[in-house]
Symmetry: C2
Subunit: 349 residues, 2 copies
């Protein structure tokens, strides 16, 4: 198992394998990088030497020559602790990681306080040639990041956005269509007064979801009330209470995230409301959390792991200079009906 003994072990360099194969380092480099200028015979001889000596590229040396760093970065601007709570992140990171590691590209993770710190990180990474590209989350209205990234020449892929082409490619899932189907589901169950615990209003995707719900509401004759909340469960709980306190108490509540939904369900339980007998609940994000709730929650299902893979694949293409569409379509979340939504109370089936 151990490499052949002998000289006090020192990592073999391409000079070593060049000597071993009786060629120049240049030839080795060419052979390793599949470049022309080496005969098939020589190439096999070189690769044999590589295998025999157990050579591995020194990434630092490679990166120094202006090459790839074989690393993709992800900077998350959220309170560090929420990372551990939101299944979305963990799933996304798993997916990113899975796709990247298939190509032996590493994922670099960083959590920062705000967008300005995030931009600093990008600048540092670009300057240090630490990452070949980055994934950008939570696009905001008038977000400075895409333009800045273009300016500093750091390849980037946006997750989300509004589906319109921008300065950097975006992976886009149609939240609008998804939210519409949720609204239709509730309308079909006879609900009219629907509460909506939204996400951070500044986020483009949150805004899109709210808009979609209101659009669908107008069309279907629903009375939608959106109350924004941030990632915290406290805000989601407070928003739920606010909705319950309204004159026209909603008979159904839609939550923008699974964590918010769970917090909301707790409030509803404390208020003595039965699901779905007294009130229906749906979550926009599906996850383990939502499935494990009692009753399991109706939610918009999407494969976040797969989404991560898709995003990672897009970054890889971009980094390699392969053509990448301005907007990469991700599957639209699909409605999964579970026990938390039912017919509006007081109406015969």
């Amino acid at each position: 198992m151990t490499s052949s003994a002998g000289h006090p072990s020192r990592r073999p360099t391409i000079a070593d394998i060049a000597a071993h194969a009786g060629v120049s380092p240049t030839a080795v480099s060419f052979a390793l990088n599949d470049r022309p200028g080496v005969s098939a015979r020589t190439r096999t001889r070189i690769l044999a030497a590589v295998a025999e000596l157990g050579w591995r590229p020194n990434v630092a040396a490679r990166a120094l020559g202006g090459r790839r760093a074989d690393t993709v970065g992800l900077v998350v601007t959220r309170p560090a602790r929420t990372l551990g709570v939101e299944p979305f992140f963990a799933q996304l990171v798993s997916g990113l990681q899975a796709r990247l590691s298939a190509d032996l590209v590493a994922l670099q993770l960083l959590v920062v306080e705000d967008v300005s710190a995030e931009l600093d990180v990008y600048r540092r990474w670009a300057a240090e040639r630490r990452t070949d590209g980055v994934v950008v989350l939570d696009l905001e209205r008038d977000d400075p990041r895409p333009d800045e990234l273009v300016r500093m020449g750091l390849p980037a892929v946006l997750l989300s956005g509004d589906g319109t082409p921008g300065p950097v490619p975006a992976v886009f899932a149609d939240d609008h269509a998804a939210m519409t189907s949720l609204a239709e589901h509730l309308a079909a169950l006879g609900h009219v007064h629907v509460g909506h615990v939204g996400g951070v209003p500044a986020y483009v995707h949150s805004a899109r979801r709210a808009t979609a719900l209101h659009d669908a509401g107008a069309r279907l004759g629903l009375d939608i009330t959106t109350v924004p909340a941030d990632f915290s469960q406290d805000e989601a709980a407070a928003a739920t209470r606010a909705l319950l306190a309204r004159d026209e108490r909603p008979t159904a509540i839609v939550y923008d995230s699974d964590v918010a939904a769970l917090a909301g369900v707790t409030v509803l339980a404390e208020a003595g409301l039965d699901l779905p007998g007294d009130i229906s609940v749906a979550s926009f994000d599906d996850s383990e959390l939502v499935r494990l709730a009692h009753p399991p929650l109706t939610a918009m299902t999407r494969d976040t792991f797969e989404l991560g893979e898709l995003v990672a694949g897009t970054v890889l293409s971009l980094v390699r200079g392969e053509p990448v569409p301005d907007v990469v379509g991700a599957p639209t979340p699909v409605l999964t009906v579970r026990g938390s939504t039912g017919r509006v109370p007081g109406v015969a089936a």
Copy 2:
């Protein structure tokens, strides 16, 4: 905001700032690395030039010179998708990240299939000088990783272990003591027949927990039945059903993880059992999931985020050659009693 215009922007190198400050590159390097051989005057002049030109070190060049890569690695050997489910991981990673990024050290994440693939990754990282050190999880009995890591000279810190000094430093939380206090809690409530849905038996910490529970049981007169399960909720559910099917049905069940506990609770609910009226449930891992359950579950609480910070700090010390104790003590998880545990049914309070 933008750097002063002029030459078609090119990253300033140490040569540029040397020219700008009127000294040699060597002097600049010395100044930047706080080495003697530069007068205070010159040093300030150099640092001023650095600031003015906005110089940033090129990590690749640094690493090439045999220096740090400023990166710490974490390889997780689990099915990639479970990563997104277990709050423990996400929290741990957040904590690691938080501590590392304070020192501008990056976290490299990789998920692999098995321990042999994990070792391959370590070998690659060591060969490529990609990471300065690694964090190792889920130690198993006769685990080859510590010795191998020592052999390849890659600094490593173990999370968990059994509290005895080994070839590499370990951060150790006393699961034994924690599990003991859980057992005492159940005994105090009058439970005698206690089920235990364990973790992966090969893991040292799972084994320790099981041992602790059985030890405490022997002392307190409990009848403990351990059924092992892996990370999957299916197995946890099956284990729960197995426990319910026993002649002497347990009046309380202890779960090794939060995810397992949630799956178990679902089974219990389906069986029409009321918590804690009919049966008590406790989870060894605390988390958001556990708190959001109905009723919220009694659990052993520890701050996993903080644990991550502690581990990261230990790796950093190790990498820098600072003295690190063989065993770094992490806080013992503390019992948090919630609504899921109550007096044994059929016994007067």
